[in-house]
């Protein structure tokens, strides 16, 4: 089965603004390497988890997948077409098929539009239904995310965090997408409300056969709701595979550290320290494998040469 949406060796750099001393001293231009050759693919009806700590590039990847960032190298393909080359009707079709749900639904909803107007706008732009049927469709969407019909007449500030995230999901669903990219959609929510939204994602994904890219730093959630997972560290995918296999037998030392660092819900004395050292700065990444300064099993070679992701989904010289 060919992938619905895929990133192929995507690179993305962000230039660091130069200040006066930089210019006077003629220091070289610097750049943050947010993504260094990232490849991931998601198929119809599948949930792909992307997991990693701050600065690993997971949000940049999300934005590259929905065409909010243009890759510096590599490409993102939707149904086989490079999305950077899309124009006109093909672009409109892509925009409709691939939707994003953001972490902070308050920042991504227009505070001056009622929820009904926000949803109706999406329906109108993409001519999803006839003008006369818009109101009915808005109500159907609210029902789909388990919000009352009365929500349509209210503004975003009248809702709690969990309800706002439901609105964000309804907005994404309005255009009948085939892929949803969700960037930390439940990170700002309390556990009890988080469970409601996680269940909603799982239900919708199954019922509508969506491809879901679920980006999070929470390993428990990834384990719970994804089919496949890609673990990122400093702009690279270090390990990828079916979620169950990856959690049962993690192969990359970073994946192992990450899994063992998650506090278990079973009370007891903590295990050995998961990993030493700090997260490196993406401005000044370590040479070779970016994880080598923290890696318990690093060899001299690791400091020199960066391993690529092999056919088995592992980027480690010692795997």
């Amino acid at each position: 089965m060919s992938a619905l949406l895929s990133a192929e060796a995507v690179e993305k750099r962000f230039a660091v603004p130069r200040n006066l001393p930089d210019m006077l001293l003629r220091r070289p231009h610097r750049a943050v390497h947010a993504l260094s050759g990232v490849s991931v693919a998601v198929h119809a009806g599948e949930t792909l988890g992307i997991v990693g700590e701050s600065g690993c590039g997971k949000s940049t990847l999300a934005r590259a997948l929905v065409r909010l960032h243009r890759p510096d190298a590599g490409m993102v393909r939707f149904e086989g077409d490079d999305i950077a080359s899309l124009t006109g009707p093909a672009l409109l079709r892509f925009n409709r098929a691939v939707q994003m749900v953001f972490q902070d639904p308050f920042a991504s909803l227009n505070p001056r539009m009622t929820v009904g107007a926000t949803l109706a706008e999406a329906l109108r732009v993409h001519h999803i239904v006839a003008e006369a049927d818009i109101q009915a469709r808005v109500l159907a969407l609210l029902d789909q995310v388990q919000l009352p019909a009365s929500a349509a007449a209210r503004h975003p500030h009248e809702f709690s965090g969990g309800q706002r995230q439901r609105i964000g999901i309804a907005r994404a669903l309005a255009v009948e997408p085939r892929v949803i990219i969700a960037d930390e959609p439940v990170s700002a929510l309390d556990v009890s409300v988080q469970a409601q939204i996680v269940n909603l994602f799982m239900e919708l994904q199954e019922r509508l056969g969506l491809a879901l890219v679920f980006i999070t730093h929470d390993l428990r959630l990834v384990r719970h709701m994804t089919h496949r997972v890609a673990v990122m560290y400093l702009g690279r995918v270090v390990e990828t595979g079916p979620t169950q296999t990856l959690f049962a037998a993690p192969r990359h030392p970073y994946t192992r550290a990450l899994i063992s660092a998650v506090p278990s819900l079973t009370p007891g004395q903590p295990k050995a320290e998961a990993v030493r050292g700090e997260l490196p700065s993406p401005l000044n990444p370590p040479s070779g494998c970016a994880f080598h300064p923290r890696c318990p099993i690093a060899e001299p070679r690791c400091a020199v040469e960066a391993p690529n992701l092999d056919a088995t989904g592992l980027a480690c010289w010692l795997g």
Binding site: V191, Q196, L221, H224, A261, L265, P267, E273, E278
Partner: protein, 317 residues
Amino acid sequence: MSLVVRDLRVVFNTRSGPVWAVDGVDLEVAPGSVLGLVGESGSGKSVTLRAIARLLHGHAKVSGAVSWQGEDVLAMPPDRLRRLRGAEIGIVFQEPMAALNPVLSIGQQIDESLVAHTVLDTKSRRARALELLDLVGISAGATRLGQYPHEFSGGMRQRAMIAIALASAPKLLLADEPTTALDVTIQDQILRLLLRLKDELGMALVLVTHDLGVVAQTCERVSVMYAGRVCETGKVSEVFAHPRHAYTQALLRAMPGEQIGAKLVPIPGQAPRLDAPSPGCAFQPRCTAREPICATQRPSFTELATRRFACHAGARL
């Protein structure tokens, strides 16, 4: 017990009326032990912590009793309070960047604490500062002392905060979500550090968190808070294995756990408003185990061995 809190209440008088943020909290902390204070947003856990250290502003009305080694904290005169805070009770906040002074070097900030709470001279204060950085796992201490908070990473800032809190060798450390802003591998290091320091220095630790996993891995006892009240207190192993309050049970079930792909059991509805307390149990509108009595009568505490819980349905959970 070194810290005993009885019937602590905090009311904020806001323009739209009073808000009962903490509504009758009882806590005990034994020397050298770790108490977890766990709850969701708005449950009153941070306000409780701040009320214990008397860090709340004047518009907060605090009542009840906070006793520190037999002394009444709420009635302490300002100069005694100043010696208590920092010297006997250290505090670590969630956002080290907001709690540290951005225009003073880390060394100056540790020194401030040493000047205030010790009688050391300049030279021995510097030696002690280096010792403290070493203790919290910051290497190259001599260089680090001269650096400013913005030159530290998030995890290092939290370590520096802990070093400042430890400067006067406190007997109790109050930590308000100390790892919430940190990545999981760094959280692991900081929690481990806190536990090690607790053992080495014989401190007691109160850890406020929303993460049940953090409680399971670091605390001996836990108090679960909801809507400004403690609903259940007990040994972590017992509370997790067999919760006696419907909210504790619901919270544990809402966490993604061992059963992969299974539907989570969300808690229906939303956190209650604190400006209009109900006569019954605060969790009752969202509770699936509720009985008619729950809406009308606030459950009183049941004591069962080392456990205390306030739930009408507690016996049959």
